[in-house]
């Protein structure tokens, strides 16, 4: 048993608990501690990735109870990739929060690390009920983060977010309960094997449970028509929190991918491919509605939030195309789109604080202080968000389009993807020209010094540099995502690794 599998869980949990115990410590020391803990988690995530990069599937039986009787943690390429993406994004979100958000209310750093604990747990667990528990951990931390800083509009959006997710959790439990009632197991690898031997009279129940599970995960990843909670929530959360939340919908995408490739994958006999016919229509609908919502938005943050919905649609399309090439493209697109959305949320905040009452409304207003720097960053962020060359988003979308050629529904996929891309470009070009070019010449009084500007824009620049690095390392990273997709296409290895762990 390799303890590196549980280390990415223990690190954020102990950091969160430690920060709670040391809550009376000077804020600066707590900040140092928080960033150091995050860097340590990043190191552990890199170590875990190095362990699984050769295709090994590591398992960790909690309490040494063998699977399927005990809960197992499983680390494969997909889990490591998701973990690494999350932590890289979280680092810059945390750096952005250090500018004062963490002092706006209590326990920001505690909640932040518990959120990372929930995210890491969701990616690493091999048990469906444990996945529910980690969903709840990350959700309750996200409620706290979402409401952090207070304000009537935020509380109102937060209440809806909480109620929607509580209803979703109830559905999740019903799906989990039904699957347990049919198969008598909750270990995902064992579920796949047990579903293959479902008696004919229980097939309908198992199907209903599987589709209910899809509905729950679709709610979490804001797939249409269950996406309406997202724009209001993300547009009302403070910018660093919204930046971190850019990864939250990807947990839903990850869960759908895991359910589709493993639980209802090739090993589950009569139920294999249960989710497949639903994914592509859902994906294209999400992409279309997200893009149209962004076009209709009158505020920059709302537009970015709708683009987060659209990016979940693109990722679901990559899963729905059901070919390793498409999936590899999607997995390469995932960190790119999360980082770009995070940069856009931070940038929208930087724009909003410089425009007085106009805030981030997409109306021409007075010229902003430091307009050139903001404009340059907006240009790069828009390139990344729209998936234009030369950044990684273009490579990923090109790979996805090439994988879609020859698919029976290729006309629909190519049509919607390209149309959504074009509308994204139009939207971002219009926003940029409204915010930066059509501003009047008399400038607002400079409110902040140059040093403050540097601290404000460096997390955004860092995120963009990371996207450039993603682009530069495209050959190596796409090789890795292709290997990940190949591993997911053959779940037999995963099932074997999990269920034989107890014998060794």
């Amino acid at each position: 048993m390799n303890h590196i599998v549980i280390a990415p869980l223990l690190a954020p949990l102990s950091a969160g608990v430690l920060l709670l115990l040391l809550r009376h410590l000077d804020l600066r020391l707590r900040r140092v501690l928080s960033v150091a803990a995050l860097l340590a988690q990043l190191g552990l995530a890199f170590a875990l990735t190095a362990h699984v990069a050769d295709g090994a599937i590591l398992t960790y039986a909690l309490g040494d109870w063998p699977a399927p009787y005990g809960i197992v943690l499983v680390a494969d390429r997909l889990a490591a990739w998701m973990l690494l993406t999350t932590l890289l994004l979280a680092l810059f979100a945390l750096l952005a929060a250090l500018r004062g958000l963490d002092a706006a209310g209590r326990h920001f750093h505690v909640l932040f690390h518990l959120q990372l604990f929930g995210l890491a747990g969701a990616f690493l667990t091999g048990d469906l009920f444990n996945l529910f528990v980690f969903f709840e951990v990350l959700l309750i931390a996200s409620y706290g983060l979402m409401l952090h800083g207070g304000g009537a509009a935020r509380v109102q959006a937060g209440l809806r977010y909480v109620v929607v997710n509580l209803a979703g959790s109830s559905l999740f439990l019903i799906a989990v309960g039904t699957l347990y009632g049919v198969t008598g197991t909750l270990n995902m690898a064992d579920l796949a094997r047990a579903l293959a031997h479902t008696p004919a009279e229980h097939l309908g129940l198992a199907r209903a449970a599987g589709l209910l599970l899809l509905a729950v995960f679709a709610l979490k990843c804001a797939a249409a028509p269950l996406h309406l909670w997202l724009p209001a929530t993300y547009a009302q959360a403070s910018a660093p929190v919204a930046a971190l939340f850019a990864i939250m919908t990807k947990v839903g995408v990850y869960s759908i991918l895991r359910a589709d490739s493993l639980v209802f994958g090739p090993a589950s006999g009569p139920l294999s491919g249960l989710l497949d016919p639903w994914l592509l229509p859902l994906a294209l609908l999400t992409l279309a509605l997200g893009t149209l919502g962004a076009l209709a938005s009158r505020r920059l943050r709302l537009a970015v939030a709708h683009l987060v919905v659209a990016s979940a649609g693109t990722l679901l399309a990559a899963i729905g195309l059901a070919s390793p090439q498409a999936l590899a493209a999607g997995l390469y697109y995932l960190p790119h789109t999360s980082l770009a959305a995070a940069a856009a949320f931070l940038l929208a905040e930087a724009v909003a604080v410089r425009r007085g009452a106009l805030a981030d409304a997409l109306d021409p207003g007075p010229a902003m202080p430091a307009q050139r720097w903001l404009g340059a960053l907006f240009f790069l962020t828009a390139l990344a968000l729209a998936g234009l060359p030369p950044l990684a988003g273009f490579i990923a979308k090109f790979m996805l389009l090439r994988a879609a050629v020859g698919h029976p529904a290729s006309v629909w996929v190519l049509g919607v993807l390209l149309a959504a891309g074009l509308m994204g470009v139009i939207l971002l070009a219009r926003s940029g020209s409204l915010l930066f070019y059509r501003s009047s010449t008399h400038t607002v009084v400079e409110a902040k010094g140059a040093a403050a500007l540097g601290a404000e824009l460096s997390p955004i620049a860092g995120l963009l540099l990371l996207i450039v690095a993603l682009t530069a390392a495209a050959p190596q990273l796409t090789t890795f995502t292709l290997a990940t997709a190949a591993q997911l296409a053959e779940p037999a290895g995963y099932i074997e690794a999990v269920l034989s762990a107890g014998d060794g």
Binding site: Y143, L159, V162, G177, G181, L186
Partner: protein, 109 residues
């Protein structure tokens, strides 16, 4: 007994869904509570309904009840309890800040 339990779960769920769709926060919170009761009963019943049988190994026992759903229900109850407490606090805060308990936060005539 199965029919009775099924009906109880059904009625609780129906009531919960109806209340969640109401426009004010208090019925919504009550609805979420009813839903979580229904879900807990449902999870419990997924281990099959057995009367008078122990969940752990005993020398005199002839039949057993499934202990796993009981553990799952316990976890679900704890989580549901915490979430309900949180959502009640949040609803109170929303009422205090918005001056209205409408879920859209808009004062209706």
């Amino acid at each position: 007994m199965e029919a009775l339990v099924a009906m109880v779960i059904g009625v609780l769920t129906a009531g919960g869904v109806y209340l969640v769709l109401r426009a004010r926060t208090f019925p919504v919170v009550l609805g979420l509570t009813l839903l979580s009761y229904a879900v807990n009963l449902f999870l419990f019943a997924m281990g099959r309904l057995v009367i008078g049988a122990p969940p752990v190994v005993a020398e005199t026992a002839h039949a057993y009840t499934d202990p796993l759903p009981q553990a799952l229900v316990l976890t679900a109850i704890v989580i549901g309890f915490g979430m309900t407490a949180f959502v009640i606090m949040l609803a109170l805060k929303a009422y205090a800040e918005l001056g209205d308990d409408h879920v859209d936060g808009e004062r209706r005539p």
